[in-house]
């Protein structure tokens, strides 16, 4: 009796596991297909427009060569510089904000946090119209869009303090206190004790700050305003898929997508551990 029951349990586990494997395999295929398609299409040379088949009939590097000869180089460099600068500036801002809100108890602290919460409820698209005009007055649009973009990305980034504040909150306060008793100033506490311990969240902040500009589309489009020299990859490549261009540029878009995705993906995969920690912590802390 007990033996039979045992067998039953194992058999049902077997069936359910098989089902799960089937689901997981199907999912993996669904999730990977677009990327496989992109890579395959980027090597298609017989035509440059959209076609109804996946495997190219003629393979070649033509699309990548065309990419090299287009404005794409400029866009890529623009995006890379923006991403690099944003990664540095945004990280500094976010860490300043979140460390302060986690560790100091000053009079306006609660009010400040509530204020930023309310501020975050406004659609930030609203601000773009003004920012565009202001940047235009400063001469930071169109061909000079890159410094303008960097400025906007960094300036308000303090509002995104939430995830890293949650992380700082998990570092025991008694460490700060011990260090202060040991003779450290508050700045030394941050520099010598907290930052070394906050490595995961620092890397997470750098990683997300670095990745965001690659995908930003709206603001970048506003600020570059049709000037190719000031575009980032997202804005530039978006134009390739519009009605008038898609016939000549579809396969180039695929090639560009591969070129953009490879470094970001490699970086992401290397630092995945930290990303997962940050994302999970952020959700738990709310």
């Amino acid at each position: 009796m007990s033996n039979k029951r045992h067998m039953g349990l194992r058999a049902s586990a077997h069936i359910s596991n098989t089902l799960i494997y089937i689901v997981l395999v199907v999912m993996s295929v669904v999730w990977l297909i677009p990327f496989i398609c992109i890579v395959l299409q980027s090597f298609r040379v017989e035509s440059t427009w959209q076609v109804g088949y996946v495997i190219p009939q003629k393979w070649g590097w033509d699309n990548y060569v065309a990419l090299w000869n287009s404005d794409f180089k400029r866009w890529y460099l623009n995006t890379f510089i923006t991403a690099l600068a944003t990664a540095v500036g945004q990280t500094v801002f976010v860490l300043c904000m979140s460390y302060t809100l986690s560790r100091f108890r000053f009079k306006m602290r609660q009010g400040l946090m509530r204020f930023m919460l309310v501020l975050g409820m406004f659609p930030n698209m609203l601000a773009m119209i003004v920012l565009y005009r202001v940047l235009k007055d400063l001469g930071l649009t169109q061909a000079n869009a890159v410094p303008g973009l960097i400025l906007v990305y960094i300036a308000s980034s303090g509002m995104g303090y939430y995830v890293s504040k949650g992380f700082f909150d998990t570092i025991p306060k008694s460490l700060d206190e011990a260090a202060r008793v040991d003779g450290a100033t508050r700045a030394q506490v941050l520099w010598k004790i907290i930052l070394p311990l906050a490595k995961p969240i620092v890397i997470y902040t750098i990683l997300t700050a670095f990745m965001a500009p690659w995908g930003d589309f709206v603001l970048a489009r506003y600020i570059s305003f049709g000037t190719s020299a000031g575009m980032n990859v997202a804005v530039g490549m978006y134009s390739w898929l519009q009605q008038d261009m898609i016939g000549q540029r579809y396969t180039m878009f695929c090639a560009g997508g591969v070129v953009v995705a490879i470094p970001v993906t490699i970086l992401f995969m290397c630092l995945q551990k930290y990303y997962v920690e940050g994302v999970t912590g952020g959700a738990v802390k709310g």
Partner: protein, 513 residues
Amino acid sequence: MKTYNDLEYLRLSKGQKFLYRLVSFFAAIPVALKNGCLGIGRFFKNLAAAIGRELADIVLTFKNGDWKTRLSFLIMGFGSMARGQVLRGLLFLLFEAVFIFYMIMGGGHWLSLLSSLGRIGPHDEYSAVLDAYTKVYGDNSFKILLYGVLTIFFIIALVYTWRLNIKQNKIAEDILRSGKKLRSGKEDLKSMVDDQFHKTLLALPLTGIILFTVMPIIFMVLVAFTNYDGSHDGYNNALFTWVGLKNFRTMLTWSGSGVNYSATFGEILTWTLIWAFFATFTNYFLGMFVAMMINKKGIYLKKLWRTVLVLTIAIPQFISLLYVSKMFAKNGIVNGLLLDLGWITQAIDFMGSQANNALLPRVMVILINIWVGIPYLMLITTGILMNIPADLYESSRIDGANAWQQYTKITLPYMLFITGPYLLTSFTNNINNFNVIYLLTGGAPTNAAASGAAGSVGYTDLLITWLFKITMGAESQYYMASVIGILVFLVVAIISLVVYNVLPSIKNEEDFQ
């Protein structure tokens, strides 16, 4: 509504319990709203009281202060300098000088024009040299509004600094009277990295937020009360000016014929909320489901499955979304494949760029959003699932729960408790999820019924994409975009307010802490 105490509640049947909790939930909403409003009221009351206290203190400081203090009322920082705190005093004085300089150089001008937003617009003027009428530009409404707001900010900052300067004098007098020494400039500098370190840290980020978020938002909120659009750009073609609540009336009143904004707004808001609901919860539950499948004991290659999914996070969204939208295009790969297989005879218009069918594109964006969102949710829920104490499952097994019961009684309540705030932010983020909609469909298919409203509205448009389209369109009715922005803020704020106030009562029942 009847309320039960704990013991009475326990005696209710299952259905009654559910009903009771449901009713309590909705009954709590008005209370939550009321509390929110009361909170705002209290805030203003406290503010008024605080201002009263400050004024009284200022008067008292003047009355009791020595001549150094009194002179500081006019020359900021004088007291500090006279008492040897040169650094502080200089900073105060510098701020005052900069302020006066700014007001003379332009601030006063902008402020004086703020009420009219400019008097002389662009016009033709006879030029004797050329013997012809040439266009002459006058005031710039945009700049007047922008710098007017900036000037008001500057004035507020000055008042605050002036108050700080007076407080400094009072404190300094008190310290000197008690026979202690004042901090020197060197000590001030030192305290910036020690007991005043938080001010140092906050200085830059807060300046950034005020200049690049607060100011623009205030500006755009004000734009909702003007007629700023493409044909009144404030400089090149015509000035714009204040119009009061006219734009809100246009948006919200129901007019039977012609341009019917309120109907369009209602339609888009409904779809926005439906979208946000599905986008949030389909991702949440399916992501959790996937995480549980991968986490299940006896499943091998866990790392591989996770990596495949996580890979899609790494690739910038604009690539994957644009590409997927093209895959489902009429001449895209999916249609090509289905035609080749002979499953369909005519290409399906998935994204509905032409068809007038609203349902299919709407379902498609939700489905593709699932494809985008599951990896994130899988990551998030994996972490939390692994943190659920194993003894909860062990004790429930001893109590005789099956897998489904374990899920509904342990896993789900635990997850909802931990991720409640995350769900809220995720919902509000989806209300403003520009990227997915704009990159996938661009709002298509066109909603012919709403053609009267600005910014060609489509069936998959969210409020936020509508707002964007309005600003990009030929007419660029910025004031309408601004009205929509304010309404979006109100929707998000009300939802957040209600959920924040109602949530704790749900939480208590499922307290895992």
